[in-house]
Symmetry: C2
Subunit: 328 residues, 2 copies
């Protein structure tokens, strides 16, 4: 069985033909077209789907359906998102599931992107065979996927899993959401960059390899530069990542205490930095979690990397999750 | 159908004969005997059960089983608790389910006390007919009951629901568990008493009715005095409860963001103070929760009051939860 998996992000649209054992063919990354507006996004989805259908023809395989991972809360009866996705202006008003069905006459399934990523990891990645799993996607913010007794948990109205807006410092920085002290202010890419700026005084920077990499311009600093420098043993970079790892461990500890999961998956853009982030979390987690639950919880890096959303989206098709009402 | 429900606490043992529609007969509160050790606790359980069986005889009804709500993590194959309940020394080594069965030859069911309370509220209290519910029991600490898709969630190894040890101020007070900044340091009875002591300087106290009630001795202060004074409009008491209500709202907001529940039940000893605590939570909750989830979540006071554990324990029998291995 094969499906087309599409993973829509604020910057990129990723896609691929995915088999039901999780293998990805024709993996493609292309701009999502968010700056040009929702019509352009939809056009890009259609063009990429058409491309994959042509490729499937050439491969001599048939496609069972189209799966879409998107920011926001899906309402399949509307055929698009009805909440969230504030960074994709106009996307709420776009019933893309309906349009994709009308265009291709294939079943269309869609779900929230972090939920899809979690499903992907659960079926074909770090979470294989697990029943109680939390995934944290560390990116611009921190998104959460919750698996309870083998099933995805979305909450009463689909807004569950907002673990990035768990307050860990009630008197701390104000989050973009308006709440003070949200976890994602301390452990997302936003948190990394703020921590780095707090650490990097002119003098300490000069003794660091970061200095050369960013050409002495703080605005050139990226998480990649930090993680690269840390891997090379740069003391300043290691200090910064240690602090962010501790902040990440606070929220992970909270979730371990609340959920007592068997597995905690560290995913998202920051996780692409690899084991160095997870190691720093593991170093600090004992301070922020109860012994009995901590000892029952494995902490692992996500396995599917940048393909997680595409694999997850295809799984929506294979498992018939959030099927649109606009087919057949 | 009738069962005996027993609710073991650090101070009191509560019990009653409970019908399957949640009515409680012969409700009894007696010292649990914790200071005298686990043998005394077990003796008290046996004596109280014997008393209820005699009463059931007089009432002409038959008893289907014995349900026990206890601090700690139940292992039914052992017949007692295998973790938690640090305030009941020796209780881990006591297979009370086995003993009760051998004594009375009735099915014995047991579960963690907050879980039982949550089940009681779900079947016969504030949570009737709800599917996704969080209950916070505000007492000496803060215990949590989690209901996902109508089912109690205990975590991978039974240690889930430790919401009191969710960190809300990572640089704050150190909790008795060793973690810094746990929610229960700010919003449990411990939190109330600390907040009160922080507020009550000699001078401000003299203008408060609390002054007379505690005979000018801070060691006489209890949560009841505070709540009574607040209800009478005492400004100092209202200030203290406002701060604790805000602290309670931080943790509740976190749980609303994570779980997007349809109902949040405020229970436990503090909740017996009534609506004044819930009102103060509702006043502050908008600052600590995302709009979409908050608007989908009702916040209600627990309904079963001091009988919640007894009703919940009996429900374990009626629903055959944690069936003991020691029957028939």
């Amino acid at each position: 069985m094969y499906a087309i998996g599409l993973d829509l992000g604020g910057t990129n649209l990723k896609g691929g033909i995915v088999s039901d054992n999780g293998d990805v063919y024709q993996f493609t990354i292309t701009p999502s077209g968010v700056p040009e507006g929702p019509k352009k996004i939809l056009e890009n989805l259609i063009v990429l789907t058409g491309f994959f259908l042509k490729k499937a023809d050439e491969m001599g395989i048939s496609i069972s359906g189209i799966g879409v991972a998107t920011p926001g809360i899906i309402d399949p009866s509307y055929g698009g998102i009805t909440g969230g996705a504030d960074n994709l202006p106009g996307w709420r008003g776009t019933p893309f599931m309906r349009t994709l069905y009308e265009e291709f006459k294939l079943p269309v399934h869609a779900h929230n992107d972090v939920t899809a990523i979690t499903l992907g990891e659960l079926r074909h990645g770090a979470g294989r065979g697990k029943q109680n799993v939390i995934l944290a996607a560390f990116g611009t913010g921190i998104g959460g996927g919750i698996v309870v007794d083998g099933k995805l948990y979305g909450g009463h109205t689909g807004y569950g899993g907002e673990i990035g807006h768990m307050v860990i410092r009630a008197d701390g920085y104000r989050c973009s959401c308006g709440i003070r002290g949200c976890w994602e202010e301390y452990a997302s890419i936003r948190g990394i960059m703020r921590t780095a700026r707090n650490y990097i005084s002119k003098d300490s920077l000069k003794e660091s390899t970061i200095y050369i990499k960013i050409n002495n311009k703080i605005e050139n600093l990226t998480p990649k530069v930090l993680f690269d420098s840390a891997r090379e043993g740069d003391r300043l970079a290691l200090q910064i990542i240690d602090e962010v790892g501790n902040n990440a461990a606070i929220g992970i500890g909270n979730l371990i205490n609340i959920f007592n999961p068997e597995l905690f998956i560290v995913g998202g853009g920051i996780a692409l930095a690899g084991e160095i982030f997870v190691e720093s979390i593991k170093k600090h987690i004992h301070k922020w979690s109860l012994k009995d639950s901590r000892e029952a919880t494995e902490i692992l890096l996500a396995e599917l990397g940048e393909k997680a959303g595409v694999v997850g989206a295809s799984t929506l098709v294979f498992e018939n999750i959030n099927r649109s009402n606009f087919e057949f």
